[in-house]
Point group: C2
Chain length 330, copies 2
DNA sequence: GAAATGCGTGAAACCGGTTGCAACACGGCG
DNA sequence: CGCCGTGTTGCAACCGGTTTCACGCATTTC
């Protein structure tokens, strides 16, 4: 079927070893042999079988890309960048969708079966021992966009969520909103907790309360805001733990006849592409997603190349993106 | 490092063959041997190495999932479903992002290197000979959500885009819009051409003209609609070849002071999740994405299991989803 | 009771590569 | 001329599995 090492060796009139060495960087081959092999390989259209070589080298160049956020459009941007960055690094993303409850264990087995070189976990709401399980299996793991309290010894790349909470509270207060509240994502997400902590800290007496949604989804933001408008607590401005939630909340607020940003202010988090669309124009806190992805891939590469080392935590700063859902600073 | 077949064999006191057969369905093993092997495997935590077995079986259970639509949120829904469907079928998605020009060839080599069992191409704007290249390499290929004119012999699962064009024109005319136009996606996309063909056919004398955008993106829809409002052709209603484009167009129309759906009607295509958000409420034509994905995966499974067969084309019907960007039928 | 049938088993070859090792060629040196 | 070091090469073992094959054994059949 496919062209093998053997075929190339036969055609070039050399041994298998010679061919193998031609395609191994840093191996000792004479210029003459290399030329012959390369010519034969080109003529036959030979491509080394990564999987076969992985048997002896122990490297598959496969990286598990694990997530359970397949409904938040923000993650498409994340996947886009991850796949591109991995491809540039010569690594291949094996995508794992943790949609259902039982998927976690099975995925772990699966990634082991394919002997992936490393795992990137992109999510803030995974079962807490999931990341740890990889780590325990001896696989390099980097957790991006969130973290597990139960896996303090894994690499982590993320924004500083407490600082994001600070920035949010300061921003809302600066704009002259009196009572300010927090409308977070799922309660169990580490990011939600951290953002709330930072926000409440800085809001002080102006803190009007917090509510969590069931998911990072428009409907969740809309319904929770509806309930909030009906039952309270009331606030003049809300910091939402995610842009999609913020957009849902916006929709509910306008439906109820309130004006944004005059009556109510809304501040999102992420700066997903849609936040910039003119008919949404969400003021939001931007995650430096390019840097997060680049750092994550760099860490995975380093772990693969250099073996185990003490875990690294990298917290990146956020910035405010001014649009139209918050009053101008007075 | 990892537990191997050999380890299990030693512990169970049997040969490698016996262990291998225990994990091969339909192989001949006595109940007693099977029990012993299973116990040993469980005790050791053994999982067969798929990659090693792929050497002899020729099956990796890896499926290339190739796309270049990583900026259209609609595709996150598609990836979500594909990954879930593949996982349920015991297959693993190796994600390939064709963002850059040179990626196509390299990806082809790459997928061969990993000896994937099959390839799913999810896009309508790929270089036309890309799909054909897979086919020529002897790999099962299914093209979903579009097709290549140069690869008439590959499996195809898609909506009937000409019929979608018919439906669009009929719908707009029924709602009493006089002059109707088409605002399509990228001109080179097969889907754009087919939708236009169907639309123009049925619009007849009411056809006001067509314009293509540079990408499936909000900004493209917005900018093209701005230009259209400025330079014409003028139309009372537009059929947009994609929801994101439609949403961009909506934004431009409202910015220009026109009312939707009174002055101008907008009809999208896809029914992505955001189209249903109350603050967007886009009337659109729904692609039966669940069926497309299910059929695609079923075809890949069949191709892998049964080998080459004549190519299959499956065209699924679309339905109209009523929301708020088109007048009610009179 | 002997021969035919069948299943279950292990040894060994093989899948497509990599790599340790020993053999070898070559040039430079004393 | 002999010795040595360097650089190149092929052989063979190995990675972790699968599969062919022949054989042993128990069961069935005449």
């Amino acid at each position: 079927m496919a062209v093998t090492l053997q075929d190339v060796a036969a055609r070039a009139g050399v041994s298998k070893s010679a061919v193998s060495r031609t395609f191994t960087v840093g191996a000792s081959v004479s210029a003459r042999t290399r030329a012959r092999v390369e010519e034969a390989a080109a003529a036959l259209g030979y491509h080394p079988n990564v999987l076969a070589s992985s048997l002896t080298t122990g490297r598959t160049k496969l990286v598990g890309l694990v997530s359970n956020n397949f409904s938040n459009p923000y993650f498409l941007e994340i996947f886009d960048r991850f796949t591109q960055a991995l491809q540039s690094a010569g690594l291949r993303p094996l995508l794992v969708n943790l949609a259902h409850a039982g998927d976690a264990e099975r995925s772990l087995d699966m990634l082991r079966q394919y002997s992936v070189d490393g795992v990137i976990v992109a999510s803030s709401t995974l079962p807490p021992d999931f990341t740890a399980a990889f780590r325990q299996a001896g696989l390099p793991v980097v957790h991006a966009f969130g973290w597990s309290r139960n896996a303090p010894d894994t690499d982590l790349v993320s924004i500083d969520n407490v600082a994001a909470g600070h920035l949010a509270a300061e921003t809302l207060l600066t704009r002259g909103y009196g009572r300010i509240g927090f409308l977070g994502g799922p309660e169990e997400a580490s990011t939600t907790q951290d953002r709330l902590t930072g926000f409440r800290d800085r809001a002080g007496a102006a803190f009007a309360g917090a509510r969590c949604t069931s998911a990072y989804a428009f409907a969740a933001g809309r319904d929770t805001m509806r309930a909030l408008l009906h039952d309270g607590p009331v606030a003049e401005a809300w910091f939402c733990g995610d842009d999609v939630i913020a957009i849902g909340a916006l929709s509910a607020i306008r439906d109820a006849g309130h004006r944004v940003p005059g009556d109510v202010g809304i501040l999102g988090l992420n700066d997903m592409e849609m936040a910039g669309w003119e008919n949404i124009a969400l003021t939001t806190i931007r995650q430096p997603i390019a840097e997060i992805v680049a750092d994550t891939v760099a860490l995975i590469e380093a772990s693969i190349a250099e073996g185990p080392r003490p875990p690294v935590t990298r917290m990146l700063p956020c910035t405010l993106v001014e649009r139209a859902t918050l009053r101008e600073p007075s």
